[in-house]
């Protein structure tokens, strides 16, 4: 599978502050890629470099296999974290202007805008001024303007901030549909849980450095440590727990429901659950048995701590 965007050892320094330190990324085509990290980690700097707003001190960026060039701007759609519109300009006029700046012809921009305005049911806003719209409404316009020129790569910096839940869902669905049509999407966020469900690939950035990256499922596999949550139905508090503690690494345990339910977490030596389950059989009813899969947040915290 080929990559839409490759960053090789990209570094950027502002005065004495190192914003990015040799960050390398490979963003596969037609995927949703999460760029995760706390505020100030360097995500926005990286995104601005991809958008050619600023230029790296060292390192290279390749877009679709070729070194990044000014004309690639028309193939990238960018919704910045700090986003706004001209207050006193009319919605339609403004959308047309921004679309034309991305290289669309006026007629083209007009017909596509009509399509999107109808799709998001905001057709009657065309002649309104931005200052008459609510923040959420303005965000819809910004979303449309970002995707209008059908870019190959879409970059959203904190896309859901400012949206109410209904509009956030609407936009999420639109994003998934764009992905299905072949667009690659980069999400940048510090709220890891919100984008985890969407992202196929992630990269964690912390203090200007990339800590880890790859397919989310692979990362989770690598970071899971065979910890299982087990719920056993027991007759009464008997010697079972002591027996288990003797044979397995029980991390925590408690009796609930008046002593007829034993909940505990156990770390197994490998991901082969056979020996553990067969040890239990006949001794107790297994009411539930789930593997605890680390969240991106857990992985992130662990990675930062082990560094």
């Amino acid at each position: 599978m080929s990559n839409i965007l490759v960053a090789k050892e990209v570094s950027k320094q502002f005065g004495n502050h190192i914003a990015l330190n040799k960050v390398s990324l490979e963003i596969p085509k037609n995927s949703i890629y999460g760029l995760l990290g706390p505020n100030g980690a360097g995500k926005t700097t990286l995104i601005r470099i991809i958008n050619q707003i600023i230029y790296p001190d060292q390192g290279e960026i390749y877009f679709d296999g070729k070194p990044l060039q000014p004309h690639h701007i028309s193939m990238i759609g960018y919704l910045p974290e700090e986003r706004g519109l001209y207050k006193s300009m009319k919605v339609g006029e403004q959308a047309l202007y921004l679309a034309q700046l991305k290289g669309l012809s006026k007629a083209d921009a007009k017909s596509r805008l009509k399509y999107w305005f109808d799709r998001l049911e905001i057709g009657d806003w065309w002649n309104k001024k931005i200052q008459e719209l609510s923040k959420g409404m303005a965000q819809k316009i910004q979303f449309i303007v970002t995707v209008l020129h059908e870019p190959k790569l879409l970059i959203f910096d904190e896309p859901f901030s400012g949206f109410d839940p209904i509009n956030a869902n609407l936009i999420k669905d639109e994003i998934l549909e764009l992905r299905d049509k072949g667009t690659t999407i980069i999400f940048s966020t510090h709220r890891m849980e919100s984008v985890e469900e969407l992202c196929e690939y992630i990269a964690l950035i912390h203090k200007s450095e990339k800590l880890l990256d790859g397919k989310l499922s692979d990362i989770k596999k690598a970071y899971k440590n065979n910890i299982y949550k087990v719920g056993l139905g027991v007759q009464s508090a008997n010697g079972l727990l002591a027996d288990l503690k003797d044979k397995f690494n029980i991390l925590s345990s408690e009796y609930v429901d008046g002593g007829i339910q034993l909940n505990f977490t156990v770390q197994l030596p490998s991901d082969d659950t056979g020996p553990f389950l067969s040890h239990l059989s006949g001794k107790a009813n297994v009411n539930n048995f789930t593997e605890t899969i680390p969240s991106a947040n857990d992985i992130f915290i662990r990675t930062v701590q082990t560094k």
Partner: protein
């Protein structure tokens, strides 16, 4: 280029459609003409006030000399002593009392005469009185010398040296000032344009920062393109506004002069000092033919050359200053933070105007005039004040014009480059009021 023209168009329309801009465009000429009308009106009121002056003449002279004029009327008093006269004129509300004592000869009478007023008297009244004494004294001396008045006038006392340049063309006195004044008008125009529309550019940049649209735009176009488009768009709006102002001002003045029958020369009265009684006729005759000469000289001013240079200096000077304004707008978050940066911009502009009006008027090709017409931040204004004198022999040396324009172009490139760097960094900086040190650091980003 397509993107640049899109930006220019948007900036132009955004400016031209702005309500306050429209109001200013159409209100300003009305205000301007209104001001002039008001000034003329007030001046007329001032002139129309007739002051009554009492004359207590105890001498044998001046019995018929004090005749009423436009601004003063005279009341003769007799058979009353000075103190009583002072009292009574205060009671009667007269402007002043001229006391002429009884002395044996005219010289003494004149030197002992006193003009009493409540407050210190206006200069036009004093001139009026002094002229009477001067004329009388002059006639008296002429009589003593045995010269008749007509002889004296035929001698001609108003001599002005004729001046010419080396190629023999006659120069007119004062024409240098007139030429510098024409250049000064051009220079002043440039300064006003820079201050007004540079400010517009700055505010427009701040607006893009505060609405946070800036990052959306510069992900589509280069910051430099945006800055350039903004400057050009705003200046085109400015040119439109100036054109409307000039045309409507001319129209309104035309209408006013026709309707109210204002004498245009009345606007600059006071400039010509009223000549004395004697020799006045000669002066008038001389000035009549002089007007013809001045008119000729004005036609000889190389207008085509002047206007082409005006355009060159205007465009380069405006681009330099407005890109500094754009950089300032990018560096700050709101207009209140701009003051510390604006002052150093206004300074060279003011300096240029003052140097122009004081130094260039006195000596268009003196060392200070030359220096300031070469220094790029003042040359657009100062050089334009020198240029109406022509280029080459008798005017501004060709090398000075060349060096001045060359320096201006080099500065233009340098400043725009620096401003673009500050602009590029500044538009993405929020929440911090930058110092000059910060700006310097940004240059290295």
């Amino acid at each position: 280029m397509g993107k640049l023209s899109l930006i220019i168009k948007r900036e132009y329309l955004a400016k031209v459609r702005n309500k306050s801009f429209v109001v200013m465009t159409f209100l300003s000429p009305i205000l301007m003409v209104g001001m002039v009308v008001l000034i003329v009106y007030l001046t007329k009121i001032n002139d129309n006030e007739i002051r009554t002056i009492a004359v207590l003449n105890e001498s044998n002279y001046f019995s018929t000399d004090f005749q009423g004029t436009e601004s003063a009327s005279f009341v003769r008093m007799r058979d009353i002593d000075l103190e009583a006269a002072k009292d009574s004129i205060q009671k009667m509300g007269f402007y002043g009392l001229l006391y002429i004592p009884d002395e044996p000869d005219l010289e003494k009478v004149a030197s002992r005469s006193i003009f009493y007023t409540k407050d210190s008297p206006g200069s036009s009244i004093l001139d009026n009185l002094e002229n009477v004494f001067e004329d009388r004294l002059r006639l008296r001396r002429l009589q003593e010398l045995g010269v008749s008045v007509s002889d004296f006038e035929s001698v001609g006392n108003n001599f002005e040296i004729n001046t010419a340049n080396f190629s023999g063309e006659q120069n007119l006195k004062g024409i240098t000032e007139i030429k510098a004044f024409i250049g000064g008008a051009f220079g002043y125009l440039i300064m006003m344009f820079i201050i007004i529309y540079g400010g517009f550019v700055m505010r427009s940049v701040i607006e893009e920062k505060t609405t946070r649209i800036i990052e959306v735009i510069i992900s589509s176009v280069k910051p430099f393109q945006l800055m350039l488009g903004k400057i050009i768009g705003t200046s085109l709006a400015g040119v439109t506004q100036f054109a409307i102002w000039i045309i409507s001002a001319i129209l309104m003045f035309g209408v006013l002069i026709l309707v109210f029958d204002i004498d245009p020369s009345g606007l600059n009265s006071g400039a010509s000092n009223a000549p004395g009684l004697v020799g006045g006729a000669a002066y008038m005759a001389a000035s009549d033919s002089a007007i013809q000469l001045y008119a000729n000289e004005l036609f000889r001013i190389p207008w085509v050359m002047l206007i082409s240079f005006f355009l060159i200096y205007f465009i380069l000077g405006y681009l330099i200053y407005s890109s500094i304004y754009a950089a300032i707008g990018a560096a700050v978050d709101n207009e209140t933070d701009t003051q510390q940066f604006i002052f150093p911009i206004i300074l060279p502009l003011m300096l240029a105007i003052y140097v122009g009006f004081f130094s260039v008027f006195n000596n268009p090709h003196g060392p200070i005039a030359v220096a300031f017409s070469l220094f790029p931040l003042t040359s657009p204004i100062v050089m334009l004040m020198r240029l109406p004198g022509g280029i080459g022999e008798g005017g501004v040396p060709i090398w000075e014009v060349a060096v001045s324009i060359l320096l201006l172009i080099v500065t233009f490139i340098g400043i725009v480059w620096l401003a673009a760097k500050i602009y590029r960094v500044g538009i993405l900086m929020y929440g911090k009021k930058p110092s000059y040190r910060d700006l310097f650091k940004w240059l290295k980003y």
